[in-house]
Symmetry: C2
Subunit: 288 residues, 2 copies
Protein backbone atom coordinates (compact mmCIF):
# COMPACT_ATOMS: atom_id res chain seq x y z
CA UNK A 1 0.00 0.00 0.00
CA UNK A 2 1.29 3.41 -0.92
CA UNK A 3 1.65 5.88 1.97
CA UNK A 4 -1.56 7.96 2.01
CA UNK A 5 0.54 11.06 2.68
CA UNK A 6 2.20 10.75 -0.71
CA UNK A 7 0.06 13.02 -2.87
CA UNK A 8 0.20 13.73 -6.59
CA UNK A 9 -0.77 17.09 -8.00
CA UNK A 10 -3.53 16.61 -10.61
CA UNK A 11 -4.18 20.27 -11.45
CA UNK A 12 -3.31 23.73 -10.20
CA UNK A 13 -5.06 27.03 -10.97
CA UNK A 14 -4.06 30.38 -9.56
CA UNK A 15 -7.10 32.00 -7.96
CA UNK A 16 -7.22 35.13 -5.77
CA UNK A 17 -3.41 35.07 -5.48
CA UNK A 18 -3.37 31.56 -4.00
CA UNK A 19 -3.62 28.24 -5.78
CA UNK A 20 -6.62 25.96 -6.15
CA UNK A 21 -5.00 22.55 -6.41
CA UNK A 22 -6.41 19.06 -6.91
CA UNK A 23 -4.44 16.11 -5.56
CA UNK A 24 -4.72 12.34 -5.75
CA UNK A 25 -3.52 9.80 -3.19
CA UNK A 26 -3.98 6.20 -2.07
CA UNK A 27 -6.30 6.05 0.90
CA UNK A 28 -5.52 3.39 3.47
CA UNK A 29 -8.96 3.77 5.11
CA UNK A 30 -10.91 3.54 1.86
CA UNK A 31 -8.63 1.14 -0.03
CA UNK A 32 -8.79 3.14 -3.24
CA UNK A 33 -7.32 6.14 -5.00
CA UNK A 34 -8.97 9.37 -3.85
CA UNK A 35 -8.90 12.92 -5.09
CA UNK A 36 -9.22 15.97 -2.89
CA UNK A 37 -9.04 19.73 -3.42
CA UNK A 38 -6.72 22.03 -1.49
CA UNK A 39 -6.77 25.80 -1.71
CA UNK A 40 -3.44 27.21 -0.58
CA UNK A 41 -3.62 30.95 0.02
CA UNK A 42 -0.71 33.21 -0.76
CA UNK A 43 0.87 34.11 2.57
CA UNK A 44 4.24 35.63 3.30
CA UNK A 45 4.43 34.55 6.89
CA UNK A 46 6.05 31.24 7.71
CA UNK A 47 3.44 30.77 10.45
CA UNK A 48 1.38 27.59 10.17
CA UNK A 49 -1.89 28.49 8.49
CA UNK A 50 -5.18 27.21 9.92
CA UNK A 51 -7.22 24.68 7.96
CA UNK A 52 -10.91 24.49 7.11
CA UNK A 53 -12.34 21.18 5.85
CA UNK A 54 -15.38 21.31 3.56
CA UNK A 55 -17.62 18.25 3.16
CA UNK A 56 -19.86 18.17 0.10
CA UNK A 57 -23.33 16.77 -0.41
CA UNK A 58 -24.87 13.87 -2.31
CA UNK A 59 -23.58 13.26 -5.87
CA UNK A 60 -20.69 15.70 -5.44
CA UNK A 61 -17.00 15.12 -6.02
CA UNK A 62 -14.07 17.24 -4.85
CA UNK A 63 -14.91 19.64 -7.74
CA UNK A 64 -18.32 21.15 -6.95
CA UNK A 65 -17.38 23.35 -4.03
CA UNK A 66 -14.18 24.66 -5.58
CA UNK A 67 -15.81 25.48 -8.93
CA UNK A 68 -19.10 26.93 -7.74
CA UNK A 69 -18.99 28.46 -4.26
CA UNK A 70 -16.54 31.30 -4.83
CA UNK A 71 -14.91 30.57 -1.46
CA UNK A 72 -11.35 31.27 -2.60
CA UNK A 73 -11.74 35.04 -2.18
CA UNK A 74 -12.45 34.58 1.53
CA UNK A 75 -9.88 31.82 2.09
CA UNK A 76 -7.28 34.20 0.70
CA UNK A 77 -8.56 37.16 2.73
CA UNK A 78 -8.42 35.17 5.99
CA UNK A 79 -5.36 33.11 4.97
CA UNK A 80 -6.99 29.76 5.61
CA UNK A 81 -6.10 26.52 3.81
CA UNK A 82 -9.30 24.85 2.58
CA UNK A 83 -9.46 21.09 2.00
CA UNK A 84 -12.42 19.61 0.11
CA UNK A 85 -12.41 15.81 -0.14
CA UNK A 86 -14.58 13.61 -2.34
CA UNK A 87 -17.85 12.27 -0.89
CA UNK A 88 -17.22 8.51 -1.05
CA UNK A 89 -14.70 5.88 -2.07
CA UNK A 90 -14.39 5.59 -5.86
CA UNK A 91 -13.91 2.75 -8.30
CA UNK A 92 -14.27 -0.03 -5.73
CA UNK A 93 -16.74 -1.89 -7.94
CA UNK A 94 -18.99 -3.08 -5.16
CA UNK A 95 -22.25 -4.44 -6.56
CA UNK A 96 -24.90 -1.72 -6.19
CA UNK A 97 -22.48 1.15 -5.56
CA UNK A 98 -23.51 3.07 -8.69
CA UNK A 99 -27.22 2.40 -9.04
CA UNK A 100 -28.57 5.08 -6.73
CA UNK A 101 -27.64 8.72 -6.39
CA UNK A 102 -28.24 8.68 -2.63
CA UNK A 103 -26.29 5.53 -1.74
CA UNK A 104 -22.86 4.17 -2.68
CA UNK A 105 -20.59 6.31 -4.88
CA UNK A 106 -21.07 10.01 -4.18
CA UNK A 107 -23.03 9.17 -1.04
CA UNK A 108 -20.67 7.89 1.64
CA UNK A 109 -22.60 9.70 4.41
CA UNK A 110 -19.39 10.16 6.43
CA UNK A 111 -19.87 6.97 8.44
CA UNK A 112 -17.66 3.89 8.95
CA UNK A 113 -19.77 1.10 7.46
CA UNK A 114 -20.17 -2.11 9.44
CA UNK A 115 -22.24 -4.14 6.96
CA UNK A 116 -19.80 -6.61 5.43
CA UNK A 117 -20.35 -5.59 1.83
CA UNK A 118 -19.37 -1.98 2.53
CA UNK A 119 -17.14 -2.24 5.59
CA UNK A 120 -13.85 -2.58 3.71
CA UNK A 121 -14.14 0.65 1.71
CA UNK A 122 -16.91 2.85 3.08
CA UNK A 123 -15.00 4.37 5.98
CA UNK A 124 -15.50 8.07 5.24
CA UNK A 125 -15.75 8.97 8.93
CA UNK A 126 -12.23 7.74 9.64
CA UNK A 127 -10.96 9.03 6.33
CA UNK A 128 -12.10 12.57 7.16
CA UNK A 129 -11.31 12.62 10.86
CA UNK A 130 -8.03 10.69 10.94
CA UNK A 131 -6.30 9.95 7.66
CA UNK A 132 -6.97 13.29 6.03
CA UNK A 133 -5.51 15.13 9.04
CA UNK A 134 -2.24 13.22 8.64
CA UNK A 135 -2.21 14.01 4.92
CA UNK A 136 -2.72 17.71 5.67
CA UNK A 137 -0.06 17.77 8.37
CA UNK A 138 2.60 16.11 6.25
CA UNK A 139 1.89 18.13 3.11
CA UNK A 140 0.49 21.53 4.00
CA UNK A 141 1.66 22.51 7.49
CA UNK A 142 5.29 21.34 7.42
CA UNK A 143 4.56 18.47 9.78
CA UNK A 144 3.31 20.85 12.46
CA UNK A 145 0.08 20.64 14.43
CA UNK A 146 -2.57 22.99 13.02
CA UNK A 147 -5.86 24.58 13.99
CA UNK A 148 -8.75 23.11 12.05
CA UNK A 149 -12.47 23.72 11.65
CA UNK A 150 -15.04 21.90 9.55
CA UNK A 151 -18.15 22.74 7.54
CA UNK A 152 -20.27 21.32 4.77
CA UNK A 153 -23.48 21.18 2.78
CA UNK A 154 -26.47 18.82 3.06
CA UNK A 155 -24.99 15.33 3.57
CA UNK A 156 -21.70 17.17 4.17
CA UNK A 157 -23.33 19.42 6.75
CA UNK A 158 -24.32 16.25 8.58
CA UNK A 159 -20.75 15.00 8.18
CA UNK A 160 -19.28 18.23 9.53
CA UNK A 161 -21.57 18.32 12.58
CA UNK A 162 -21.01 14.69 13.59
CA UNK A 163 -17.26 15.10 13.10
CA UNK A 164 -17.26 18.10 15.41
CA UNK A 165 -19.58 16.60 18.01
CA UNK A 166 -17.77 13.25 18.20
CA UNK A 167 -14.34 14.86 18.56
CA UNK A 168 -14.44 17.51 21.28
CA UNK A 169 -11.28 19.68 21.16
CA UNK A 170 -10.30 18.50 17.67
CA UNK A 171 -12.15 21.16 15.68
CA UNK A 172 -12.23 24.84 16.61
CA UNK A 173 -15.67 25.40 15.07
CA UNK A 174 -18.36 23.89 12.84
CA UNK A 175 -20.97 25.26 10.46
CA UNK A 176 -23.35 23.85 7.88
CA UNK A 177 -25.48 24.80 4.91
CA UNK A 178 -28.82 22.98 4.79
CA UNK A 179 -27.50 19.96 6.72
CA UNK A 180 -29.21 16.58 7.03
CA UNK A 181 -29.67 17.36 10.69
CA UNK A 182 -31.38 14.28 12.01
CA UNK A 183 -30.61 11.42 9.61
CA UNK A 184 -32.20 8.72 11.77
CA UNK A 185 -35.53 10.48 11.19
CA UNK A 186 -35.45 11.13 7.42
CA UNK A 187 -35.64 8.91 4.34
CA UNK A 188 -32.12 9.64 3.08
CA UNK A 189 -30.59 8.88 6.45
CA UNK A 190 -32.64 5.77 7.21
CA UNK A 191 -31.83 4.32 3.81
CA UNK A 192 -28.11 5.06 4.03
CA UNK A 193 -27.71 3.97 7.67
CA UNK A 194 -29.59 0.73 7.02
CA UNK A 195 -27.29 0.01 4.11
CA UNK A 196 -24.00 0.93 5.76
CA UNK A 197 -24.73 0.17 9.44
CA UNK A 198 -27.47 -2.47 9.42
CA UNK A 199 -30.90 -2.42 10.98
CA UNK A 200 -30.01 -1.76 14.64
CA UNK A 201 -31.15 1.83 15.09
CA UNK A 202 -29.20 2.20 18.34
CA UNK A 203 -25.99 2.10 16.28
CA UNK A 204 -27.28 4.85 14.01
CA UNK A 205 -27.41 7.30 16.91
CA UNK A 206 -23.62 7.48 16.93
CA UNK A 207 -23.86 9.30 13.60
CA UNK A 208 -26.89 11.49 14.24
CA UNK A 209 -26.26 15.15 15.08
CA UNK A 210 -29.38 15.52 17.20
CA UNK A 211 -28.45 12.48 19.35
CA UNK A 212 -24.84 13.63 19.57
CA UNK A 213 -25.85 17.15 20.63
CA UNK A 214 -27.77 15.72 23.58
CA UNK A 215 -24.76 13.83 24.87
CA UNK A 216 -22.06 16.37 23.87
CA UNK A 217 -19.74 17.08 26.76
CA UNK A 218 -17.01 19.22 25.15
CA UNK A 219 -16.26 22.94 25.35
CA UNK A 220 -19.15 25.37 24.85
CA UNK A 221 -19.84 25.71 21.15
CA UNK A 222 -22.06 27.53 18.69
CA UNK A 223 -23.08 25.71 15.51
CA UNK A 224 -23.82 28.09 12.62
CA UNK A 225 -26.50 26.69 10.30
CA UNK A 226 -27.75 28.39 7.13
CA UNK A 227 -31.01 27.14 5.67
CA UNK A 228 -32.86 28.35 2.59
CA UNK A 229 -36.61 28.40 3.09
CA UNK A 230 -37.36 27.51 -0.56
CA UNK A 231 -35.21 24.38 -0.31
CA UNK A 232 -37.23 21.45 -1.69
CA UNK A 233 -35.40 18.99 0.55
CA UNK A 234 -36.40 21.06 3.57
CA UNK A 235 -40.02 20.76 2.43
CA UNK A 236 -39.57 17.00 2.00
CA UNK A 237 -38.37 16.72 5.63
CA UNK A 238 -34.93 15.43 4.69
CA UNK A 239 -33.11 18.25 6.53
CA UNK A 240 -35.06 19.11 9.71
CA UNK A 241 -32.74 21.81 11.10
CA UNK A 242 -35.34 22.72 13.74
CA UNK A 243 -34.57 19.36 15.38
CA UNK A 244 -31.08 20.65 16.16
CA UNK A 245 -32.58 23.45 18.20
CA UNK A 246 -34.88 21.07 20.06
CA UNK A 247 -31.95 18.75 20.80
CA UNK A 248 -29.78 21.62 22.02
CA UNK A 249 -32.40 22.77 24.50
CA UNK A 250 -31.33 19.94 26.78
CA UNK A 251 -27.63 20.81 26.62
CA UNK A 252 -26.41 24.28 27.46
CA UNK A 253 -22.97 23.57 26.01
CA UNK A 254 -24.38 23.77 22.48
CA UNK A 255 -26.05 26.78 20.89
CA UNK A 256 -27.59 26.47 17.42
CA UNK A 257 -27.46 29.68 15.39
CA UNK A 258 -30.00 28.80 12.68
CA UNK A 259 -30.28 31.41 9.94
CA UNK A 260 -33.41 30.95 7.87
CA UNK A 261 -32.98 32.52 4.46
CA UNK A 262 -36.16 33.57 2.69
CA UNK A 263 -36.35 32.49 -0.96
CA UNK A 264 -33.09 30.54 -1.11
CA UNK A 265 -32.92 26.92 -2.28
CA UNK A 266 -30.50 23.99 -1.87
CA UNK A 267 -28.09 24.98 -4.65
CA UNK A 268 -24.60 26.45 -4.80
CA UNK A 269 -26.25 29.80 -5.60
CA UNK A 270 -27.44 29.73 -1.99
CA UNK A 271 -24.04 28.62 -0.70
CA UNK A 272 -22.14 31.26 -2.68
CA UNK A 273 -24.36 33.99 -1.21
CA UNK A 274 -23.54 33.18 2.41
CA UNK A 275 -20.09 31.57 2.21
CA UNK A 276 -18.41 34.83 3.25
CA UNK A 277 -20.25 34.77 6.59
CA UNK A 278 -19.10 31.21 7.25
CA UNK A 279 -15.49 32.21 6.67
CA UNK A 280 -15.88 35.11 9.09
CA UNK A 281 -17.33 32.71 11.68
CA UNK A 282 -14.53 30.14 11.30
CA UNK A 283 -11.75 32.74 11.04
CA UNK A 284 -12.76 34.13 14.42
CA UNK A 285 -12.49 30.67 16.01
CA UNK A 286 -9.36 29.60 14.15
CA UNK A 287 -7.48 32.69 15.25
CA UNK A 288 -8.53 32.68 18.92
Amino acid sequence: MTDPSVINLVSSNKCFEGFQNIYEHSSDELKCRMKFAAYIPCAESSKTLPVLIWLSGLTCTEQNFVAKSGFQKYAQAHKIIVIAPDTSPRGCKIEGDSEKWDFGEGAGFYVDATESKWAKNYRMYSYINSELHEVIKKNFTDGKEFKVSIFGHSMGGHGAMISFLKNPNKYCSVSAFAPISNPINCDWGKNAFTGYLGSNEEVWKDYDSCCLIKRYNGPDAEILVDQGLDDNFLKQNQLNPQNLIVASQGNERIRINLKNREGYDHSYYFISTFIEEHFEFHAKHLKD
Copy 2:
Protein backbone atom coordinates in the same frame (compact mmCIF):
# COMPACT_ATOMS: atom_id res chain seq x y z
CA MET B 1 -42.31 31.49 -35.97
CA THR B 2 -42.79 32.28 -32.31
CA ASP B 3 -42.00 35.86 -31.29
CA PRO B 4 -38.39 35.82 -29.99
CA SER B 5 -39.45 38.11 -27.15
CA VAL B 6 -41.68 35.41 -25.71
CA ILE B 7 -39.43 33.78 -23.15
CA ASN B 8 -40.00 30.77 -20.92
CA LEU B 9 -38.43 30.50 -17.50
CA VAL B 10 -36.39 27.29 -17.30
CA SER B 11 -34.95 27.73 -13.81
CA SER B 12 -34.63 30.36 -11.11
CA ASN B 13 -32.24 30.46 -8.15
CA LYS B 14 -32.06 33.21 -5.59
CA CYS B 15 -28.47 34.44 -5.34
CA PHE B 16 -27.15 37.51 -3.51
CA GLU B 17 -30.72 38.77 -3.03
CA GLY B 18 -31.45 38.78 -6.78
CA PHE B 19 -32.40 35.89 -9.02
CA GLN B 20 -30.22 33.92 -11.40
CA ASN B 21 -32.70 32.86 -14.05
CA ILE B 22 -32.37 30.72 -17.18
CA TYR B 23 -34.80 31.35 -20.04
CA GLU B 24 -35.54 29.71 -23.35
CA HIS B 25 -36.93 31.36 -26.49
CA SER B 26 -37.26 30.88 -30.24
CA SER B 27 -34.59 32.86 -32.04
CA ASP B 28 -35.58 34.37 -35.35
CA GLU B 29 -31.96 35.06 -36.30
CA LEU B 30 -30.73 31.57 -35.47
CA LYS B 31 -33.85 29.62 -36.41
CA CYS B 32 -33.71 27.44 -33.30
CA ARG B 33 -34.61 27.37 -29.61
CA MET B 34 -31.99 29.17 -27.53
CA LYS B 35 -31.31 29.40 -23.83
CA PHE B 36 -29.84 32.42 -22.10
CA ALA B 37 -29.10 33.38 -18.50
CA ALA B 38 -30.37 36.57 -16.88
CA TYR B 39 -29.36 37.77 -13.45
CA ILE B 40 -31.94 40.18 -12.10
CA PRO B 41 -30.69 42.06 -9.05
CA CYS B 42 -32.98 42.98 -6.22
CA ALA B 43 -33.67 46.70 -6.56
CA GLU B 44 -36.35 48.82 -4.96
CA SER B 45 -36.16 51.65 -7.41
CA SER B 46 -38.43 51.57 -10.43
CA LYS B 47 -35.63 53.15 -12.44
CA THR B 48 -34.58 51.16 -15.49
CA LEU B 49 -31.52 49.13 -14.53
CA PRO B 50 -28.50 49.06 -16.82
CA VAL B 51 -27.57 45.83 -18.59
CA LEU B 52 -24.26 44.04 -19.05
CA ILE B 53 -24.00 41.30 -21.69
CA TRP B 54 -21.46 38.50 -21.15
CA LEU B 55 -20.22 36.42 -24.09
CA SER B 56 -18.64 33.07 -23.25
CA GLY B 57 -15.81 31.19 -24.88
CA LEU B 58 -15.43 28.01 -26.92
CA THR B 59 -17.44 24.96 -25.73
CA CYS B 60 -19.46 27.01 -23.24
CA THR B 61 -23.22 27.25 -22.89
CA GLU B 62 -25.23 29.86 -20.98
CA GLN B 63 -24.29 27.97 -17.77
CA ASN B 64 -20.52 28.30 -17.36
CA PHE B 65 -20.34 31.98 -16.48
CA VAL B 66 -23.29 31.94 -14.10
CA ALA B 67 -22.10 28.83 -12.22
CA LYS B 68 -18.38 29.55 -12.01
CA SER B 69 -17.50 33.25 -12.10
CA GLY B 70 -19.16 34.45 -8.90
CA PHE B 71 -20.32 37.62 -10.71
CA GLN B 72 -23.72 37.80 -8.99
CA LYS B 73 -22.27 39.47 -5.88
CA TYR B 74 -21.10 42.42 -7.98
CA ALA B 75 -24.15 42.55 -10.23
CA GLN B 76 -26.24 42.90 -7.07
CA ALA B 77 -23.87 45.47 -5.53
CA HIS B 78 -23.98 47.68 -8.63
CA LYS B 79 -27.61 46.82 -9.53
CA ILE B 80 -26.83 45.70 -13.06
CA ILE B 81 -28.84 43.13 -15.02
CA VAL B 82 -26.47 40.56 -16.53
CA ILE B 83 -27.41 38.60 -19.65
CA ALA B 84 -25.31 35.58 -20.69
CA PRO B 85 -26.38 33.95 -23.97
CA ASP B 86 -25.28 30.61 -25.35
CA THR B 87 -22.29 30.53 -27.74
CA SER B 88 -23.91 29.16 -30.90
CA PRO B 89 -27.18 27.93 -32.38
CA ARG B 90 -28.19 24.54 -30.97
CA GLY B 91 -29.82 21.44 -32.38
CA CYS B 92 -29.78 22.60 -36.01
CA LYS B 93 -28.30 19.30 -37.17
CA ILE B 94 -25.99 20.74 -39.79
CA GLU B 95 -23.49 18.13 -40.96
CA GLY B 96 -20.20 18.78 -39.18
CA ASP B 97 -21.63 21.03 -36.45
CA SER B 98 -20.68 18.68 -33.61
CA GLU B 99 -17.40 17.14 -34.69
CA LYS B 100 -15.01 19.83 -33.52
CA TRP B 101 -14.89 21.74 -30.24
CA ASP B 102 -13.68 24.89 -31.99
CA PHE B 103 -16.21 25.03 -34.84
CA GLY B 104 -19.98 24.60 -35.04
CA GLU B 105 -21.95 24.06 -31.83
CA GLY B 106 -20.38 25.91 -28.90
CA ALA B 107 -18.20 27.88 -31.32
CA GLY B 108 -20.34 30.42 -33.17
CA PHE B 109 -17.55 33.03 -33.08
CA TYR B 110 -20.13 35.86 -32.96
CA VAL B 111 -20.17 36.34 -36.75
CA ASP B 112 -23.00 36.23 -39.31
CA ALA B 113 -22.01 33.30 -41.54
CA THR B 114 -22.12 33.75 -45.30
CA GLU B 115 -21.12 30.26 -46.40
CA SER B 116 -24.35 28.62 -47.53
CA LYS B 117 -24.18 25.65 -45.18
CA TRP B 118 -24.03 27.90 -42.11
CA ALA B 119 -25.71 31.10 -43.26
CA LYS B 120 -29.23 30.18 -42.19
CA ASN B 121 -28.43 29.51 -38.52
CA TYR B 122 -24.99 30.80 -37.61
CA ARG B 123 -25.91 34.47 -37.17
CA MET B 124 -24.59 35.03 -33.64
CA TYR B 125 -23.49 38.60 -34.47
CA SER B 126 -27.02 39.70 -35.26
CA TYR B 127 -28.45 37.57 -32.47
CA ILE B 128 -26.28 39.32 -29.87
CA ASN B 129 -26.38 42.85 -31.25
CA SER B 130 -30.00 43.07 -32.44
CA GLU B 131 -32.40 40.33 -31.42
CA LEU B 132 -31.14 39.94 -27.86
CA HIS B 133 -31.53 43.68 -27.25
CA GLU B 134 -35.20 43.48 -28.21
CA VAL B 135 -35.67 40.48 -25.93
CA ILE B 136 -34.07 42.39 -23.05
CA LYS B 137 -36.11 45.52 -23.69
CA LYS B 138 -39.43 43.71 -23.81
CA ASN B 139 -38.76 41.48 -20.80
CA PHE B 140 -36.37 43.18 -18.40
CA THR B 141 -36.63 46.95 -18.82
CA ASP B 142 -40.39 47.41 -19.21
CA GLY B 143 -40.06 48.23 -22.89
CA LYS B 144 -37.79 51.18 -22.12
CA GLU B 145 -34.43 51.99 -23.70
CA PHE B 146 -31.57 50.94 -21.45
CA LYS B 147 -27.86 51.51 -21.01
CA VAL B 148 -25.84 48.48 -21.99
CA SER B 149 -22.20 47.37 -21.92
CA ILE B 150 -20.60 44.15 -23.10
CA PHE B 151 -17.77 41.85 -22.03
CA GLY B 152 -16.62 38.29 -22.49
CA HIS B 153 -13.95 35.61 -22.33
CA SER B 154 -11.70 34.20 -25.05
CA MET B 155 -13.94 33.75 -28.13
CA GLY B 156 -16.47 35.84 -26.18
CA GLY B 157 -13.86 38.54 -25.54
CA HIS B 158 -13.47 38.74 -29.31
CA GLY B 159 -17.26 38.85 -29.65
CA ALA B 160 -17.56 41.64 -27.09
CA MET B 161 -14.85 43.78 -28.68
CA ILE B 162 -16.16 43.48 -32.24
CA SER B 163 -19.71 44.19 -31.02
CA PHE B 164 -18.52 47.37 -29.34
CA LEU B 165 -16.26 48.52 -32.17
CA LYS B 166 -18.83 47.92 -34.92
CA ASN B 167 -21.61 49.73 -33.06
CA PRO B 168 -20.38 53.12 -31.86
CA ASN B 169 -22.81 54.65 -29.34
CA LYS B 170 -24.65 51.36 -28.73
CA TYR B 171 -22.50 50.09 -25.85
CA CYS B 172 -21.29 52.25 -22.98
CA SER B 173 -18.14 50.19 -22.42
CA VAL B 174 -16.37 46.94 -23.29
CA SER B 175 -13.94 44.64 -21.52
CA ALA B 176 -12.49 41.19 -22.09
CA PHE B 177 -10.74 38.33 -20.36
CA ALA B 178 -8.07 36.67 -22.51
CA PRO B 179 -9.79 37.61 -25.78
CA ILE B 180 -9.00 36.18 -29.20
CA SER B 181 -7.75 39.62 -30.14
CA ASN B 182 -6.70 39.19 -33.73
CA PRO B 183 -8.60 36.18 -35.13
CA ILE B 184 -7.44 36.69 -38.72
CA ASN B 185 -3.93 35.95 -37.48
CA CYS B 186 -4.46 32.87 -35.30
CA ASP B 187 -5.39 29.24 -36.01
CA TRP B 188 -8.76 29.31 -34.21
CA GLY B 189 -9.85 32.44 -36.06
CA LYS B 190 -8.58 31.43 -39.49
CA ASN B 191 -10.32 28.07 -39.20
CA ALA B 192 -13.63 29.52 -38.01
CA PHE B 193 -13.67 32.47 -40.42
CA THR B 194 -12.86 30.18 -43.38
CA GLY B 195 -15.72 27.92 -42.38
CA TYR B 196 -18.32 30.62 -41.69
CA LEU B 197 -17.19 33.41 -44.05
CA GLY B 198 -15.30 31.68 -46.86
CA SER B 199 -11.77 32.17 -48.07
CA ASN B 200 -11.80 35.90 -48.87
CA GLU B 201 -9.71 37.33 -46.06
CA GLU B 202 -10.89 40.88 -46.77
CA VAL B 203 -14.32 39.88 -45.46
CA TRP B 204 -12.76 38.54 -42.26
CA LYS B 205 -11.48 42.01 -41.33
CA ASP B 206 -15.03 43.09 -40.51
CA TYR B 207 -14.89 40.73 -37.54
CA ASP B 208 -11.31 41.32 -36.39
CA SER B 209 -10.82 43.59 -33.36
CA CYS B 210 -7.40 44.79 -34.49
CA CYS B 211 -8.70 45.81 -37.92
CA LEU B 212 -11.79 47.40 -36.36
CA ILE B 213 -9.72 49.39 -33.85
CA LYS B 214 -7.76 50.98 -36.71
CA ARG B 215 -10.92 52.22 -38.41
CA TYR B 216 -12.98 52.99 -35.27
CA ASN B 217 -14.50 56.44 -35.46
CA GLY B 218 -16.81 56.51 -32.41
CA PRO B 219 -16.49 58.27 -29.05
CA ASP B 220 -13.19 57.96 -27.18
CA ALA B 221 -13.08 54.61 -25.43
CA GLU B 222 -10.90 52.54 -23.16
CA ILE B 223 -10.95 48.74 -23.60
CA LEU B 224 -10.11 46.87 -20.40
CA VAL B 225 -8.33 43.58 -21.13
CA ASP B 226 -7.24 41.05 -18.49
CA GLN B 227 -4.72 38.43 -19.55
CA GLY B 228 -3.18 35.63 -17.50
CA LEU B 229 0.48 35.11 -18.31
CA ASP B 230 0.33 31.34 -17.68
CA ASP B 231 -2.49 30.96 -20.20
CA ASN B 232 -1.59 28.12 -22.57
CA PHE B 233 -3.61 29.67 -25.38
CA LEU B 234 -1.58 32.86 -25.00
CA LYS B 235 1.58 30.78 -25.41
CA GLN B 236 0.08 29.11 -28.51
CA ASN B 237 -0.52 32.57 -30.07
CA GLN B 238 -4.30 32.17 -30.21
CA LEU B 239 -4.95 35.32 -28.18
CA ASN B 240 -2.32 37.97 -29.10
CA PRO B 241 -3.58 40.81 -26.88
CA GLN B 242 -0.42 42.81 -27.63
CA ASN B 243 -1.75 43.23 -31.18
CA LEU B 244 -4.61 45.32 -29.76
CA ILE B 245 -2.06 47.78 -28.39
CA VAL B 246 -0.21 47.94 -31.69
CA ALA B 247 -3.49 48.51 -33.56
CA SER B 248 -4.57 51.24 -31.15
CA GLN B 249 -1.36 53.18 -31.63
CA GLY B 250 -2.73 54.46 -34.94
CA ASN B 251 -6.05 55.60 -33.45
CA GLU B 252 -6.12 57.97 -30.51
CA ARG B 253 -9.84 57.31 -29.94
CA ILE B 254 -9.05 53.88 -28.50
CA ARG B 255 -6.93 53.16 -25.46
CA ILE B 256 -6.14 49.53 -24.52
CA ASN B 257 -5.74 48.96 -20.79
CA LEU B 258 -4.04 45.54 -20.87
CA LYS B 259 -3.55 44.01 -17.43
CA ASN B 260 -1.07 41.15 -17.51
CA ARG B 261 -1.63 38.82 -14.58
CA GLU B 262 1.36 36.80 -13.45
CA GLY B 263 0.62 33.09 -12.89
CA TYR B 264 -3.02 33.09 -14.01
CA ASP B 265 -4.33 30.75 -16.70
CA HIS B 266 -7.34 30.67 -19.07
CA SER B 267 -9.85 29.20 -16.60
CA TYR B 268 -12.79 30.54 -14.63
CA TYR B 269 -10.47 30.62 -11.59
CA PHE B 270 -8.74 33.50 -13.38
CA ILE B 271 -12.05 35.15 -14.33
CA SER B 272 -13.49 34.87 -10.81
CA THR B 273 -10.41 36.59 -9.40
CA PHE B 274 -10.78 39.74 -11.51
CA ILE B 275 -14.51 39.88 -12.26
CA GLU B 276 -15.06 42.47 -9.52
CA GLU B 277 -12.75 44.92 -11.29
CA HIS B 278 -14.67 44.49 -14.54
CA PHE B 279 -17.93 45.30 -12.78
CA GLU B 280 -16.37 48.43 -11.30
CA PHE B 281 -15.20 49.44 -14.78
CA HIS B 282 -18.60 48.91 -16.41
CA ALA B 283 -20.59 50.38 -13.52
CA LYS B 284 -18.68 53.62 -13.90
CA HIS B 285 -19.59 53.83 -17.60
CA LEU B 286 -23.16 52.59 -17.23
CA LYS B 287 -23.93 55.23 -14.62
CA ASP B 288 -22.30 58.20 -16.38
